[in-house]
Amino acid sequence: MNRTILAVSMLVLALAADPARAQSSDPASRQPGGAHDVKSGTGTGIVQKIDSNKGTVTIKHGPLPALDMPGMTMTYPVKDKAQLAGLKPLQKVEFDLGYDGKNFLIIQIK
């Protein structure tokens, strides 16, 4: 196993324990908090993975200009886990994403 694969594998190990680690640990604390500096944007993308237990969805999405975000593949927590029930992998979705300067949160997804 070469060094690059080892490094990636270790990341996989670390992140598989918590795919949303790149953001924060507790979905309840990820509410874009405070009245100031909360931005939101609407994006479209393809669902890659749904984790109902963690309340997250991984989406390959296009740019979100309102958040100054390029297109990317990313795992996000959703505000209401019930919204995950109707989603399927590889489905096209539209979603509203909030950002409070620290954390992202999907406000709505369909």
């Binding site: 196993m1 070469n2 690059t4 694969i5 990636v8 594998s9 990341l11 996989v12 190990l13 992140l15 598989a16 795919p19 949303a20 680690r21 790149a22 479209t44 993308g45 393809i46 890659q48 993975k49 749904i50 984790d51 991984t58 390959k60 999405h61 296009g62 100054d68 975000m69 390029p70 297109g71 990317m72 593949t73 990313m74 795992t75 399927k88 992998p89 590889l90 096209k92």
Partner: protein, 552 residues
């Protein structure tokens, strides 16, 4: 935070998010391919994780039917194949631009038809190029004269046609057809151009009768291709020059152009005809159930049936190669799906980024073995197809002990011809130091000659699936085979199970030497010029290909 800082951060997040998205299936990448030293428990755990990842495989597997995509047609009845851009919902409900071989026959329309022929049939077909770039069809594995082979030397320009006329002379097997224009084969194949070509003979028909096999029902072609999609669900192929050095590795492994596919099967013997139609990805295939690998029978290779079935529980499959296997689902337990998977292995991208001429950043990002963000790494354990087994009974057929008469390998003819695979330190892969040149034929053999070639892949290299046009061959010996592959060896010469049959493509791993036997006998008059190349299609497009002459 400046825009630039923010972008840098997002790029890093994109990478992390992509790796995170691998989840449990990503963990399976860590499973040792060689299960020595107590690795069996880890292998079982990895297998269970792959099976678990197949839980959301619900899309019905696309199968060859009476028309449409993969529809079955007699090769002798096809008059014209139009090569064109069209649309196809590769992901369910999401239209994507798609390039296809389109045929109309008997008021039916076909895309990438599954052509069926019998040995001895005459094929007369016109290819009409409706693309805006040159193309040509290569009949992969069929031994034709160079004009009918589709080498890329002859092409049809846009709006032009090309007429083929050949006799099907080869053993019964599943061959395939795909584009072969110089330097643009990879994108054309990736965008959809590929179809199957079945040849039948008496042995083949006897086997189908003995097991009650029916194409598309109990004899199932499985075309494995990895693809990426943009955020609208359209096929995406964005491979810069630097990434071509590694080849394309897509986000999803499709089967018959079905993403996350499922297939419902009865408890009986199924025949799966597997083609690795990927541009660059190798697969380590196994059928999993409950954390264990089910045994299956290898019965044929690129060039048709083996003489007898060989029971195995895994096999590597390299781009362009085929495997013909029987899976007896009476051996499976009820109430739990069987999952066709690719098991984790070291993909051995051992080229050494510092010495290749490819910038390190390019070697370690999109298109490299890590794949695109969110995608499947090369060598990563992943589910491919979920097979739901129905509780049926009443099937009592047995696999025949004898399948066919496989010709013995041609006797070795003198000193082997050395073929060295390497890179030049400038981002190019080479064959004996050669790169493709339109007007060069650096290797010539005599018609009727029996030769041994020693294909030596350098240590600082990648796996190279080497394909020869015009002739099939036998593997005589493997040396320097990496441990993860060597454990599958069947004899003291290191032959893998599929090395026991006729091949047109053979994988040479980094550091490995593969000795093959070729018989350059053919019926075609005059001198012929064919191709010998790496079937990692990005490598081929970069010039890891030579012309070789067969002197009359």
């Amino acid at each position: 935070m400046s825009n630039r800082d923010r972008m840098t951060r997002f790029t890093r997040r994109r990478f992390l998010g992509g790796v995170g998205a691998l989840g449990l299936a990503g963990l399976a990448r860590l499973a040792p391919a060689d299960e020595g030293h107590g690795g069996a428990r880890a292998a079982a755990k990895a297998a269970l994780e792959i099976e678990q990842a197949a839980a959301d495989f619900v899309n019905p597997l696309r199968l060859p039917g009476a028309s449409g995509l993969w529809g079955v047609l007699k090769a002798t009845e096809v008059r014209e194949i139009r090569v064109r851009r069209t649309e196809l919902a590769v992901l369910p409900g999401l239209a994507s631009p798609f390039w296809a071989y389109a045929v109309e026959s008997g008021a039916k329309r076909f895309l990438n038809p599954t052509l069926v022929a019998r040995r001895g049939d005459e094929v007369r077909v016109r290819m009409a190029n409706e693309l805006d770039q040159p193309t040509i069809i290569h009949w992969h594995g069929l031994a034709n004269d160079d004009r009918n082979d589709g080498t890329g030397i002859y092409v049809a320009a846009p709006s032009e046609t090309y007429d083929y006329g050949f006799t099907v002379r080869d053993r019964a097997s599943m061959y395939w057809y795909h584009p072969h224009p110089l330097h643009i084969t990879a994108p054309q194949t990736y965008r959809g151009l590929a179809g199957l070509f079945f040849v039948a003979d008496d042995d083949e028909e006897a086997l189908r009768r003995a097991l009650g096999l029916e194409l598309g029902v109990t004899e199932i072609p499985l075309v494995l291709q990895d693809k990426s999609f943009d955020h609208e669900g359209r096929l995406e192929y964005d491979v810069p020059r630097e990434a071509m050095f590694h080849g394309f590795f897509g986000e999803e492994i499709l089967v018959n152009l079905t993403a996350r596919p499922a297939f419902t099967a009865a408890r009986r013997i199924y025949r799966f005809r597997l083609l690795n139609g990927s541009n660059a990805r190798n697969y380590r295939l196994a059928f999993l159930q409950g954390g264990r690998r089910l045994g299956f029978y290898l019965i044929g290779t690129d060039g048709g049936l083996l003489d007898a079935p060989k029971r195995v529980d895994q096999a590597f499959l390299t781009p362009a190669q085929r495997l013909d296997v029987l899976l007896d689902l009476r051996e499976a337990r009820e109430g739990r799906p069987v999952v066709l998977a690719t098991l984790g292995f070291d993909p051995m991208h051992n080229e050494g980024a510092m010495e290749t001429g490819v910038p390190k950043a390019a070697a370690a990002s999109g298109g490299g073995h890590e794949g695109h963000a969110g995608g499947a790494m090369d060598g990563e354990g992943k589910p491919i197809l979920r097979i739901d087994v129905e509780p049926t009974s009443g099937y009592a057929k047995k696999i025949p002990a004898k399948l066919s008469r496989l010709p013995a390998p041609p006797p070795a003819g003198g000193k082997p011809r050395r073929i060295v695979l390497a890179h030049d330190g400038k981002g190019n892969w080479t064959i004996n130091g050669w790169q493709f040149e339109m007007n060069a034929t650096p290797l010539t053999v005599r018609r009727g000659a029996r030769e041994t070639w020693l294909i030596e892949n350098s240590r600082a290299s990648m796996p190279h699936p080497m394909h020869i046009h015009g002739f099939q061959f036998r593997v005589l010996e493997r040396r320097g085979t990496p441990a993860q592959v060597r454990v599958l060896g069947t004899d003291s010469n290191g032959l893998l199970p599929q090395d026991r049959g006729l091949l047109d493509t053979v994988l040479a791993w980094p550091g490995e030497s593969v000795r093959i036997a070729l018989d350059f006998t053919h019926p075609f008059p005059g001198d012929q010029t064919y191709m010998f190349h790496c079937h990692n299609l990005e490598h081929e497009d970069l010039g890891m290909m030579i012309q070789y002459g067969v002197k009359a």
